[in-house]
């Protein structure tokens, strides 16, 4: 049994821990976590005529996530427009994640296998774009690929093409932009995982007659898997909820969920639908995070 003095000391430590964390918790609850609960409530209310809500319970917003009501006969049918926005968001986020991995893995490997000094410098070079304003980076891509942009001007000048390539304001442009913008988020955790990788394992594998491809598939990828999962999650979540990149590179027609949500709070004047869509996005992200936690727990248990 611990003595009274010991118990008192332990309780004091725990209480001090809470007291010190309290200001941060208050700010986070007021301006981050708390409001998330309120959007759940708003998704069950009736839209007001000029935005905001009327405090009357309604399922309409949730029905409206997937179905639209025919104005003439009042029947419900699947809302193709909504579905295509969901599908585009998930598709673009997945494609972005995969492509980020395909080019990010060699990059992270390259950085991790340099001399310590070169490694520090290259890491810094990866970090700068990561912290550079997202808007500026997306804008930079916009300037390159727009019809009268650097790429088209150069190609026209060189006579490669006769009229400008229309890349901007398409799904492809959004994919290109998101890959560019989120690539550092893939490279950094991959680097962290590869950095811990014991290069002597490669010597052992080659010693045991493995080919380069076998070494990559059978040794490297399984061991750095936690980094791959972390990087994929870090890219997938912001890509799924992207707002700035599709707005600047996708134009008005190629909306993603983020832009669609914003629309409900702007011209759409349907706050409950916007709230329901937000909760839907949150649930998808939550599911992705759960998969991540489970996958990373499995890999740590195995290793």
């Amino acid at each position: 049994m611990a003595s009274l003095a010991e118990q008192r000391a332990e309780r004091r430590t725990i209480r001090n821990g809470w007291l010190l964390s309290l200001p941060a918790l208050i700010i986070l609850i007021v301006a981050a976590a708390g409001p998330l609960l309120i959007i759940v409530i708003y998704s069950f209310l009736t839209p007001g005529s000029y935005g905001n809500v009327v405090w009357e319970f309604s399922w309409d917003a949730w029905v409206g996530v997937l179905y639209s009501r025919d104005i003439f006969d009042g029947t419900y049918k699947l809302a193709d427009a909504h579905l295509s926005i969901f599908w585009r968001s998930v598709k673009l986020a997945l494609l972005t994640t995969m492509f980020c991995f395909v080019v990010g893995f060699p990059t992270a490997w390259f950085i991790a296998t340099r001399t310590p000094r070169a490694r520090t410098a290259l890491l810094f070079l990866i970090t700068i774009p990561f912290w550079t304003n997202l808007l500026i980076r997306t804008f930079a891509i916009n300037q390159i690929i727009r019809n009268e942009g650097v790429l088209n001007t150069a190609l026209l000048y060189l006579g490669v093409i006769d009229e400008p390539l229309v890349i901007i304001y398409s799904d492809f442009a959004v994919f290109l932009g998101m890959t560019y913008v989120y690539l550092p988020l893939m490279v950094l955790p991959l680097f962290a995982a590869i950095d811990r990788f014991d290069m002597r394992l490669l010597e052992a594998s080659y010693d045991l007659y493995a080919t380069r491809w076998q070494v990559l598939r059978r040794i490297i990828v399984p061991i750095v898997k936690p980094g791959i999962i972390a990087g994929s999650i870090l890219v997938f979540i912001p890509a799924l909820g992207a707002y700035v990149t599709p707005r600047i590179l996708g134009g008005g027609r190629n909306m993603m969920i983020g832009n669609f949500i914003e629309l409900q709070f702007g011209q759409g004047r349907n706050w409950p639908l916007g709230a329901a869509l937000s909760v839907t996005l949150l649930v998808i992200v939550g599911a992705a995070l759960m998969l991540y936690v489970r996958a990373s727990m499995r890999t740590t248990n195995n290793g």
């Binding site: 296998t113 700068i128 304003n133 500026i136 001007t153 600047i248 914003e262």
Partner: protein, 267 residues
Amino acid sequence: MADTRFSVSRLPGFSTIAVGVFIILYLPILMLVIYSFNGGNSIAVWEGFSLQWYPKAWNNEQVRDVTMRSLTIASAAALISTTVALMAALGTTRRKQTKGQTFVYLMINQPLMVPEIVTAVALLIVFAAIKVATGYQGLGYLILAHSAFCIPFAYLPIRARLEGMDLTLETAAGDLYATPWQTFRHVTLPIVMPGAIAGLMLAFVTSLDDVIITLFVKSAGQDTLPTYMLAQIRRSVSAEVNAISTLLLVLTVILLTGFFLLTRKRT
């Protein structure tokens, strides 16, 4: 070591891809910077070197206005978030893990996990109601919102620093007659300081970069530099935006270099 004929760590094609990635990562930014010095208004056709866009941007009263607002919000949010993050880090690291701590970690990292657009919408709803109820329309909402999502960025380097700190140092200070407050003031704080400054810088950069949450929380006439730029990009493309972007870029690089030097010199 790199010059052996058979290097075990070399994988074919990887170096080529990596070099390509670095070029593609920097090329668009470089073009953006180059065209901020363009003589004409085109962002594709080079019309001679000129510095005209910088004074033009500076003389634009609206640009000055939104820049000042951005800096005000970023400074306030960085100070607030770093202070509370430092306290939270002191409260959560370096002691026995409890269930409550997991909750605190989860709360602190929450802004990193929730898509920004969702937080933005949620804040719009809550702050709209408060604005109506209190009539207060000031910068406080933006500062509060920014402080919240800056906390994880401020917390990270501070926590790393505290976890790297030998706890015996505090015991030693107590043994040498320091009161708990003196221990904090003369031992813990000076040792944590590089982490706190690094956190301050990251929080500042994070706040300065924010578009989405600001867009939803701001009242009329409260544009920040990023929301102003977003509107400009939509409207017409002028090399003035390139000039502003370049300046913002330079500021970010300076702050990041400082951050890098501070966190690297860990002893």
